[in-house]
């Protein structure tokens, strides 16, 4: 963003210099459309990236702090083994709290599969103990050995086995979002460079006349750069606005639940897509400037 003062100066512009270059019809529309479409896609890529970042953090945070002990024992030993396991857990360094789930909580966990009013008290189902870790965590292997000795039916599940792939998947999705943003920016660079080159070629005669009367390359380039930067800025502003409206119209998390509903922006996250139009302007500024200076070098 260190080019910002230069870009602002160019955007403020010199009306007389602008008039030296005739209006270019289709390249103007091409730039507007490209910037708009890329900004619209950019909003979604950004939303994907932010949402998967949040998801990875949440999963990592939630799952890393909790684990479960499952007691699978004959019905008459269940209560004793649960008490033994709780005692072991209470004496284990790194365990903040440990509590056995009550029948209502166990029923709620099984409800999606067996429906309400399941008589869990009369069924031979394992007892679950929820374990909350301290920040430093506990020694899982040591705890497993102690549980095996005190409560043979206890199985410690520290979630590591299935937590890692989930977090990796979220991380990959996050990377995918960032790559998408990069590709969108690259396509925008390519399209604006093409449009700028087309405009420069169409105005070769104009450039020749300007050079003949003593115009510097920077003067000629500025007229093109200003035009393309403004077009990219306005196209991207429209595309971003439409993308944000589309994001706002997505179903809310409460209404449907699940991963996709978390795709929207949250809180201050709604400000992040507002960076897309100025970034598009910076991309257009440099793409056009480099294309113009390169093309002008070929004209004596």
């Amino acid at each position: 963003m260190k080019n910002l003062p230069q870009i602002v100066t160019i955007l403020r512009g010199d009306p007389r210099a602008d008039r030296a270059v005739p209006p270019t019809g289709y390249t103007a529309q091409l730039t507007l459309l490209t910037a708009g479409a890329m900004a619209f896609l950019g909003v979604f890529a950004l939303a994907l990236s932010l949402a998967t970042g949040r998801l990875a953090d949440r999963w990592a945070g939630e799952l890393a702090q909790s684990s479960t002990v499952r007691i699978s024992a004959p019905f008459d030993q269940l209560e004793a083994q649960t008490a033994a396991a709780l005692r072991v857990l209470g004496q284990t360094t790194g365990v903040a709290t440990a509590r056995a789930l009550d029948p209502a909580e166990q029923r709620a966990l099984l409800e999606p599969w067996f429906g309400p009013d399941l008589p869990v008290e009369t069924l031979p189902i394992p007892q679950l103990i929820e374990v909350i870790e301290t920040r430093d965590g506990y020694d899982a292997e040591g705890l497993r050995l102690r549980l095996r000795a005190e409560a043979p039916g206890a199985v410690l599940d520290d979630h590591t086995r299935w937590r890692r792939p989930l977090i990796e998947a979220a991380g990959r999705l996050n990377l995918l979002g960032l790559i998408s943003l990069g590709l969108i920016a690259a396509v925008m660079v390519a399209m604006i460079t093409l449009a700028a080159n087309a405009a420069l070629s169409a105005n070769a005669q104009v450039i020749r006349v300007l050079r003949l009367v003593g115009a510097r390359d920077s003067y000629i380039a500025r007229a093109f750069v200003r035009r393309f930067t403004l077009r990219a800025l306005s196209g991207a502003a429209v595309g971003t606005a439409l993308g944000m409206i589309a994001m706002a119209l997505l179903p809310s998390a409460d209404a449907a639940g699940g991963f996709l509903t978390g795709l929207g922006f949250v809180g201050a996250g709604w400000l992040v897509p507002l960076l897309i139009p100025p970034l598009a302007a910076v991309i257009a500024f440099w793409s056009t400037r480099l294309a113009a200076l390169r093309a002008l070098k070929e004209i004596t």
Binding site: A20, Q205, L210, D217
Partner: protein, 246 residues
């Protein structure tokens, strides 16, 4: 008799001592695609000098002029503009040189989307000077070349003669030190050619160096009656002083 052109007489050559050679070519050759177009050309344009450059079509008159305003680079020899060797002048330097050289092309290139007034003011615009501040002078200048009624006309709406005069007005609007004109009367009838010649002579009397490439011998004869002009001819790729046949 035409009056002195507006504001142009106020400025002498800038940035180098009065009397110093404006453009100098020393043993300059130019080849394109292996074919020699000009060989061992030497030429000095001093302030207040008036040169005609003649020769048959394709002799290299336009090429020589292009070497003088750096549209082409000599393949051999040295071109010096305002005391600086051309090879030492960068792209921005070329722009600066062209602000001190008024160029009149036969095909009079304009920006067709701009009215005549803005086209003539273009050298001021590109050099960052305020057109508004010079508006009265530009209008006076257009009156001087007989185009006062065409200020708002677009270049495609002008006749060949009007375009030539407009090109001359644009060439002198920055009060250049030298005027290079390539077949400036190519599209004009005799009466209009004489009018353009008179304008050039007036500018020359103000101290501007003038180099006119033309194959119009009648024009050269007419000019020699008004001003001490040297006539050069390109023959067999070389520059020579034209003889008494002119």
């Amino acid at each position: 008799m035409i009056e002195t052109p507006p504001h142009l007489g106020q400025n002498g050559p800038r940035g180098y001592p009065r009397g110093q050679i404006v453009i100098e070519l020393n043993d300059v050759s130019y080849s394109y695609g292996g074919d020699a177009l000009l060989s061992d050309i030497s030429l000095r344009l001093a302030p207040g000098s008036f040169h005609f450059l003649t020769g048959p079509s394709g002799a290299g008159k336009s090429t020589l002029l292009k070497l003088c305003y750096m549209e082409l680079q000599a393949t051999k020899g040295t071109v010096t503009l305002f005391g600086r060797p051309a090879q030492d002048i960068g792209r921005d330097g070329v722009a600066a040189v062209r602000r001190r050289v008024g160029i009149v092309h036969q095909d009079c290139q304009f920006l067709d989307h701009l009215p005549l007034l803005e086209n003539v003011a273009l050298p001021l615009t590109v050099s960052g000077q305020s057109t508004e501040a010079h508006m009265a002078e530009i209008q006076e200048l257009l009156g001087w070349v007989g185009l006062a009624s065409k200020l708002r006309a677009l270049p495609p709406e002008l006749s060949g003669g009007e375009r030539q005069r407009a090109a001359l007005a644009r060439a002198v609007v920055m009060s250049p030190d030298v005027i290079l004109a390539d077949e400036p009367t190519g599209n004009l009838d005799w009466e209009m050619s004489l009018r353009l010649l008179t304008l050039l002579v007036e500018l020359n009397r103000m101290g501007k160096a003038i180099l006119v490439a033309t194959h119009d011998l009648n024009l050269i004869r007419q000019a020699k009656a008004q001003v001490a002009a040297r006539v050069l001819r390109i023959k067999d790729r070389r520059l020579q002083l034209a003889g008494a046949d002119l």
